[in-house]
C-alpha cells in the first residue's frame, strides 16, 4: 500500500513538475525574441510637426508658414544580433501651409537601430538615411534626408508588440549653380505609435 501510495505521489509530482515546467516555458513567450535572423515589420502612424527651416546661409526662415500634419510609415527590420538591426523604411507625410497648400513627403530609406531593454519592454535608438520625394503645388523634388529617433515597444504576444517613437527629421533641399541660394534645411519632429509583427 505504501509503495502504491508512493508511486501515486511520485506520479502526481511528476505530472505537476511537467505541467509547471510547461507553464514556466509558456509564461515567457518572448524568450526567443531578438536573436540574429529575427525579422519584423512595423506599421507606424502619427503626427509630423514642422520645427524650423534654415536658408542657404544658415539663417532661420521665419515664419516657416507650415502647420502640423500627419505621417504614416512601414518599416522592415532584420536583426544582425541581439541588439543591432538593419532594414528599410517607406513612409508618407504631409504638412499644410498658410496659403492652404499641402506639402507631401515620401521618404524611402535604409535604417539601422540599437535595441535594448528587457522583455517584454524594448527600447531602441534608430537612424535612417535615404531619398525623400517632396511635392508641392504640382512641383516635385527628390532630396536626401536623415532621421534620428528613439522609441519603445511592449510585446503583447509572441508575435506582436506595440509602441511609440519620436524622430527628428532633417530634410534639406539642394539646388545647383546660380540657384544654390535656394538651398534650404528643414527640420521636423515626427511622433508616432505603431504595431510590430515579429517573425
Amino acid at each position: 500500500m505504501s509503495k502504491k501510495l508512493l508511486a501515486v505521489i511520485v506520479l502526481i509530482a511528476s505530472v505537476n513538475a511537467l505541467t509547471l515546467g510547461a507553464q514556466e516555458k509558456t509564461s515567457d513567450p518572448f524568450a526567443a525574441a531578438r536573436k540574429k535572423g529575427d525579422q519584423s515589420i512595423t506599421i507606424l502612424a502619427g503626427g509630423f510637426i514642422p520645427l524650423f527651416v534654415l536658408d542657404n546661409n544658415g539663417a532661420l526662415i521665419s515664419p516657416s508658414n507650415m502647420y502640423p500634419g500627419a505621417s504614416f510609415g512601414v518599416q522592415y527590420r532584420y536583426m544582425l544580433g541581439k541588439s543591432i538591426g538593419i532594414g528599410g523604411s517607406i513612409a508618407g507625410s504631409f504638412v499644410t501651409t498658410v496659403g492652404g497648400g499641402t506639402l507631401f513627403f515620401a521618404p524611402i530609406g535604409v535604417t539601422a537601430a540599437w535595441i535594448g531593454g528587457g522583455e517584454p519592454m524594448e527600447y531602441e535608438i534608430s537612424t535612417e538615411l535615404g531619398m525623400n520625394i517632396l511635392r508641392l503645388y504640382g512641383n516635385g523634388l527628390i532630396e536626401p534626408y536623415a532621421k534620428l529617433g528613439a522609441g519603445f515597444s511592449r510585446y503583447v504576444s509572441s508575435s506582436w508588440s506595440i509602441g511609440a517613437k519620436v524622430s527628428w527629421c532633417f530634410m534639406p533641399e539642394f539646388h545647383l549653380g546660380t540657384y544654390s541660394s535656394l538651398n534650404s534645411y528643414a527640420n521636423f519632429l515626427e511622433f508616432s505609435v505603431g504595431a510590430v509583427y515579429h517573425f
Binding site: 508658414n65 496659403g99 492652404g100 523634388l141 535656394l182 534650404s184
Partner: protein, 399 residues
C-alpha cells in the same frame, strides 16, 4: 553582416536566366544608387524651392461668398464693385475687402438668379432669369441700386431665350443669348429697346464669346469659331481680313489695348494680333490651349498680355511683347511670388481679367482675376493693386 547583405542582394535579384552571371551585389547597389541620383536630378526643377516658396506664402482671407463658386463677370460704378455669381454681390470700394461683400438687392429683391452683369462705370445692368436661365428681364440702376428700371428686354430679344452674357462696350449694352435650338444671337440696347447687332450675328451656330470696342473705330465680337467686326451698331459682320484667326471651335477670348489693336486667343497656343489692318499670329506656347486674354497697360513702358491657361493646371501666363518673354506659374511680372500664385490660382480656370472703369484710389490701378470654382478650396476672386509711383504690384489678395 557582409554575408547577410550579399545573401539578401542575391535573393533580391531576379531568378537565374534573367541575370548576367557577372553581376555582383555591389553592382546592384551601384545601380540602385545611380537610379536614386538620376531620379534626384532628373525629376527636379532646380529653380523651384519648396521651403522658400512656402515661406513667401500669405494667408488669404476673403469673403466666404467666393468659395466653391465661379465669378463670371464684374462691373463698377463710382462707389461700388459688383461681381456676378449665381446672384450679384457687391462691396463698397471704400472698405477693405474681407467680409464686406454681400448679395446685391436687384429691383427690391435678393431672391433671384442673375444670368448676366455689365456696367459702363455709371449704369449697372443685371439680367434676371428663371431657374432654367430663361430671360426674365434686364434691370438697370445708376445710383448703386436704390432705384431700378426694368428695360423690357423680352420685347426685343424674345421670351424664350437663354442669356449667355451681358457686356458694355463703348457705353453700349450688348446681350448675347441663345435659344432652345442652340442658335446664338447678339443684341444691343439702342437707348429705347433691344435690337439685333447684325444679321451676321443673329441665329448662328457658334456660341458667342465676348465683344469689345477697340478704342478707335470698331466693335469686335468673337464666337468660338469666327471674328466679327463692325463700325456701326447693328451692322456687325464677319471679319474678312486675310489670315484672321477664324477656326471652328478654336477661339477663346478677345482683348484690346484701347488704341485700335485687338488680340484673339485660340486653342492651339496662338494669339492673333490685329493692328494696321493686318492679323499676325504669335505663338504663346506650343500646342497649349489658351483661355481669356487681357491687355495690361501697367506699366505703360512695357505692357503685358495676360493669357488664361486652358490646360489642367489652369491659372494664367504673362507675356511681355517687348522682350518677348513668357512667364508662367507666377514666376515674375505681376505676381509677387510663385507661392502666392500657386496658393491662389492653381487648378482654377480663369474666367476673365477685369479692371474697373473708375479707380477709387487715383494713385493705383486695380486688376481683378475672376476664377472658376476649381478643385481647391480657395477663393474665386482676387485683386492685385499696381502702385503708379513705384511701379510695383501688391500681389494677389483674396476678395
Amino acid at each position: 553582416m557582409r554575408e547577410y547583405i550579399a545573401r539578401l542582394a542575391e535573393n533580391s535579384l531576379p531568378k537565374a536566366g534573367k541575370v548576367k552571371s557577372g553581376r555582383t551585389p555591389h553592382a546592384v547597389g551601384l545601380i540602385v544608387a545611380a537610379t536614386f541620383i538620376l531620379l534626384a536630378f532628373s525629376g527636379c526643377d532646380n529653380t523651384f524651392s519648396v521651403f522658400q516658396t512656402i515661406s513667401q506664402e500669405e494667408k488669404q482671407i476673403g469673403a466666404d461668398l467666393f468659395k466653391n463658386t465661379t465669378v463670371r463677370a464684374m462691373a463698377d460704378d463710382s462707389s461700388n464693385y459688383y461681381a456676378l455669381l449665381g446672384q450679384v454681390v457687391w462691396r463698397p470700394k471704400s472698405t477693405t475687402s474681407e467680409g464686406s461683400w454681400d448679395v446685391f438687392s436687384v429691383n427690391g429683391s435678393t431672391d433671384y438668379f442673375a444670368a448676366g452683369l455689365a456696367g459702363d462705370g455709371t449704369n449697372i445692368y443685371v439680367a434676371k432669369a428663371d431657374g432654367d436661365n430663361v430671360l426674365d428681364d434686364i434691370y438697370v440702376t445708376s445710383d448703386g441700386g436704390t432705384k431700378w428700371t426694368a428695360m423690357n428686354a423680352a420685347t426685343g430679344i424674345g421670351s424664350d431665350v437663354f442669356v449667355d452674357w451681358l457686356k458694355c462696350a463703348n457705353n453700349t449694352l450688348f446681350v448675347a443669348v441663345h435659344n432652345s435650338a442652340s442658335k446664338y444671337s447678339l443684341f444691343y440696347y439702342d437707348g429705347s429697346s433691344f435690337v439685333s447687332a447684325g444679321a451676321a450675328v443673329s441665329g448662328i451656330d457658334a456660341p458667342l464669346v465676348d465683344i469689345l470696342y477697340d478704342g478707335s473705330s470698331s466693335y469686335w465680337l468673337v464666337s468660338d469659331s469666327k471674328v466679327y467686326k463692325g463700325t456701326t451698331l447693328g451692322a456687325i459682320a464677319e471679319d474678312s481680313t486675310a489670315s484672321n484667326p477664324d477656326y471652328d471651335r478654336y477661339l477663346l477670348g478677345v482683348a484690346s489695348d484701347g488704341a485700335g489693336r485687338v488680340i484673339v486667343s485660340r486653342k492651339d497656343g496662338y494669339i492673333y494680333s490685329y493692328a494696321s489692318s493686318v492679323w499676325t499670329p504669335i505663338q504663346i506656347k506650343s500646342s497649349t490651349k489658351l483661355g481669356p486674354v487681357f491687355f495690361l497697360t501697367q506699366p505703360a513702358s512695357t505692357p503685358r498680355i495676360l493669357i488664361g491657361k486652358g490646360v489642367s493646371s489652369y491659372g494664367y501666363m504673362e507675356y511681355n511683347e517687348s522682350t518677348p518673354t513668357l512667364k508662367e506659374n507666377g514666376s515674375s511680372f505681376i505676381s509677387t511670388s510663385s507661392s502666392i500664385y500657386y496658393s491662389t490660382m492653381l487648378s482654377k480656370q480663369v474666367q476673365a481679367f477685369w479692371q474697373p472703369v473708375n479707380e477709387y484710389d487715383a494713385t493705383k490701378k486695380t486688376l481683378f482675376i475672376l476664377l472658376a470654382s476649381g478643385s481647391t478650396d480657395t477663393y474665386a476672386l482676387y485683386r492685385n493693386d499696381y502702385t503708379i509711383s513705384t511701379g510695383s504690384w501688391s500681389g494677389w489678395t483674396a476678395e
